[in-house]
Amino acid sequence: MTAPARADAAPLLSVRDLTKHFPIKRGVFGRVDGAVRAVDGVTFDVAPGETLALVGESGCGKSTTGRAILRLIEPTSGSVRFDGQDVLALDASDLRKLRRRMQIVFQDPFSSLNPRMSIGAIVREGLTIHHLAEGSAADNRVRQLLEEVGLRPEYASRYPHEFSGGQRQRVGIARALSVEPTFIVCDEPVSALDVSVQAQVVNLLQDLQRDRGLAYLFIAHDLSVVEHIADRVAVMYLGHVVELAPVEKLYGEPIMPYTQALLSAVPAPEPGVKRERILLTGDVPSPANPPSGCVFHPRCQHPARDSACAKIVPPLEEKTPGHWAACIKQPPTSVSWDDQRAAGATNQPEFFLPRAALHRSA
């Protein structure tokens, strides 16, 4: 399988079959009794300067994916290559060096800043750890960084509780920038903010990307924010990437029935316009006991869905150039009709795109 990547650039980050299973321990002796399959075989690339959005519901494994790439959580298996280096094979000291180049911005602006450190000390820490600046040079650098994220340099001596959520998020961004990374995992960086503040932080991230050539893995559940910032979008469901496409293709013609349902839930920006919605039945299944075959099949609204969907794990395949999706009922598919029939299929693959899923008016 060739990787779902942008064809025009060598990837900065390549993630292959990344898997993280959290063991479920029972009893006094911690007997392992099953596993939560938080991330189950995730594959994608991020090009230099690109924003890849990772979207999905709470608990679909998107944050775990982001943290496993940075080895803040040790992945169970798979491979992560960053700029040619095998991230998962690095020892502690090489990993520490690599951390200069890969950073993370967190969702919760209240828990992500140490309440007992001043803003200046927080931003300065990366400079100290990597010996980038000392003394007054470091002071100047901290002031510069604060200005760059839109905060007054005089704020350096203040403490996190003196700031609003949006300002704290800016501090978190300044901290990530302090070590001059080329890639930042943005783990729902605006989800906890008011809508008006969201726009400011998103614009800041975009300005920084333009000025510094940063690549982002932008984790989010808000599809309208993603449409604004992303170059490409990967949709996750129950630990799997089920669709990956450039933003205009994904929003224009979503292929995977799950993506279609997600897009139908995005509120229409025009007042008075009532959108049709695809209502999914049931809850997201537990990742400790995921459905067989296609993990989405119990909730799928595709008219051709049949018992083959419960048996065949759909490969993430290129349906149209650059547009990857995992569904054996959306043609074209590499899973032949004979194989489907052998698994009990009764319905031929047939392209399905409900009106409700059309997000962009043509």
Partner: protein, 302 residues
């Protein structure tokens, strides 16, 4: 790190300190503790008599308060005021010393257990569980009675050795909660070493509850020391301590009331002040009481 920066990293936002100092409980507690501490430190200047000398065993035993002896004398004709002042030295020294030692040990063990986790955590905490299931007073009585009576240093060590368990559990629990906080994950993502995370991020954040525990711990040790002395297995006679004075009058409480009342009041006031200080500290550290940013800080957002 200079001392004021170290203090700032523990107290954190300056408002914690100012809120603490504006609390009337803090002020009263500090004034009381200052008086007790000063009178203990300057006991040799303040005390009218030598606390261990029997003045006149024939004419002066068990005298009620008078001009010559404002707090009376004990059955051995020693001046109670002098003994009370000197006794404060013992109580405070044992209290402060034991708590300082117990805190250092408890914080170190708790932070290591919580931070490293796994087998280290399991072994340390099962030991603490076992230690906590034995009543502290029982251990103290056992050791003290094996030794006969104790000197000041052994007594302090004994109090410290039996006093760190609860602190270590408290600190471990705090450390476990902190480990999942995003600013710790952010420090790891920046490439901070485990030692740096422990010293710069974990310890300043567990210092607050530990400081509260310390204030309450001092009160506890003062009470325990008094209890041991009352049982006759505290500091070695004729050394004065508050518990020892009460013990001297224990058999005749109803007619030698001054031997119980005055040291009792000293214990009560000191313990009360420590507890009030502990409560005030806890409230001052409570992050829910931190005022949110006001005034010009919002300017950048607009």
């Amino acid at each position: 790190m200079n001392p004021s920066a170290a203090l700032a990293s523990i107290l954190g936002p300056r408002r914690t300190l100012s809120r603490l100092l504006h609390d009337s409980r803090t002020r009263i507690a500090l004034v009381v503790l200052l008086i007790v501490a000063l009178s203990a430190v300057f006991a040799p200047l303040l005390a009218p008599y030598d606390p261990t000398v029997q003045l006149d065993i024939v004419r002066l035993p068990s005298q009620p308060p008078s001009f010559a002896h404002p707090l009376g004398t004990d059955p051995y004709s020693r001046d109670v005021l002098s003994r009370l002042l000197y006794g404060g030295r013992i109580s405070l020294a044992v209290g402060l010393g034991a708590v300082l030692l117990a805190m250092s040990f408890g914080i170190a063990i708790g932070a290591v257990a919580g931070f490293i986790g796994g087998a280290v955590d399991a072994v340390l905490m099962r030991f603490v569980d076992a230690a906590l299931s034995i009543p502290r007073l029982l251990v103290l009585i056992l050791v003290a009675s094996l030794w006969g009576s104790l000197g000041l240093v052994p007594l302090t060590l004994l109090m410290a050795g039996t006093g760190w368990f609860a602190v270590s559990r408290l600190v471990r629990a705090e450390t476990l909660a902190l480990r999942e906080r995003e600013f710790i994950v952010a420090a790891r993502a920046l490439g901070a070493s485990p030692m740096r995370i422990l010293v710069r991020h974990v310890l300043p954040n567990v210092a607050a509850p530990a400081l509260v525990a310390a204030a309450l711990g001092i009160a506890n040790v003062i009470l325990l020391e008094a209890g041991l002395s009352y049982l006759g297995i505290g500091v070695r006679p004729p050394t004065a301590s508050w518990g020892a004075i009460i013990q001297d009058g224990a058999e005749r409480v109803s007619d030698l009331w001054w031997l119980t009342l005055f040291p009792g009041l000293a214990i009560l006031v000191t313990v009360f002040a420590c507890n009030a200080l502990g409560d005030a500290l806890r409230d001052a550290f409570d992050p829910r009481q931190l005022p949110r940013g006001n005034d010009p800080t919002f300017a950048a957002e607009a």
